[in-house]
Symmetry: C2
Subunit: 108 residues, 2 copies
């Protein structure tokens, strides 16, 4: 019984801009409302998470993160509608690809 495995990523102008890890990072920022918390959850340094964001935004030419002004609960980060849209499109893409791989696997 053979299993098909696949590592997938998205490129723009020949540069990798998005993939599973970055999708997880965006999803966690969206949930936690904070890049710092999302990075900690993924055991990633803040600096490293920030660099991922910067590379994504630069590669895509779009803002994915919006700063929220501080207040009683402190500031934080939230996804822009572009960021949320990208995450949703990627998830649908990934789900369809996984389902197709399972179907293809049966032909092996």
């Amino acid at each position: 019984m053979l299993k098909a495995r696949c590592r997938v990523w998205l490129e723009r102008n020949g540069r990798p801009v998005f993939g599973d890890g970055r999708a997880e990072l965006l999803a966690r920022i969206d949930r936690a409302g904070s890049l710092r918390k999302a990075a900690a959850e993924m055991k990633m340094s803040y600096r490293h998470a920030w660099a991922h964001l910067a590379r994504m935004e630069e590669g895509l030419g779009k803002k994915l993160l919006a700063r929220r002004a501080g207040g009683p609960g402190g500031g934080g980060s939230t996804l822009t509608s572009t960021g949320r849209g990208l995450l949703e499109k990627y998830r649908r893409f990934r789900t369809k690809l996984d389902a197709y791989l399972v179907r293809l696997e049966k032909t092996l």
Copy 2:
């Protein structure tokens, strides 16, 4: 415009057994009738190519290569029908996956 990229491989019992590089190796053995020539074409040492074959055969539990007895033209290697069948199945799988990725890409 986003492009979807994918590195794919096949596993059996959690071990990687096949992928694009190994498919190319088998295809070249089939064409050249020789593991040594196929390895040279891929700028791979004979030892390295042989190790790939051994790992594939061990992982799959099947013989992929058959030795041809020497003669006027010398000996050589040829694919077993299992080896040729695996290569054909993998190619169909890869072609279908690539076509599906192109379709999915349009949804990004």
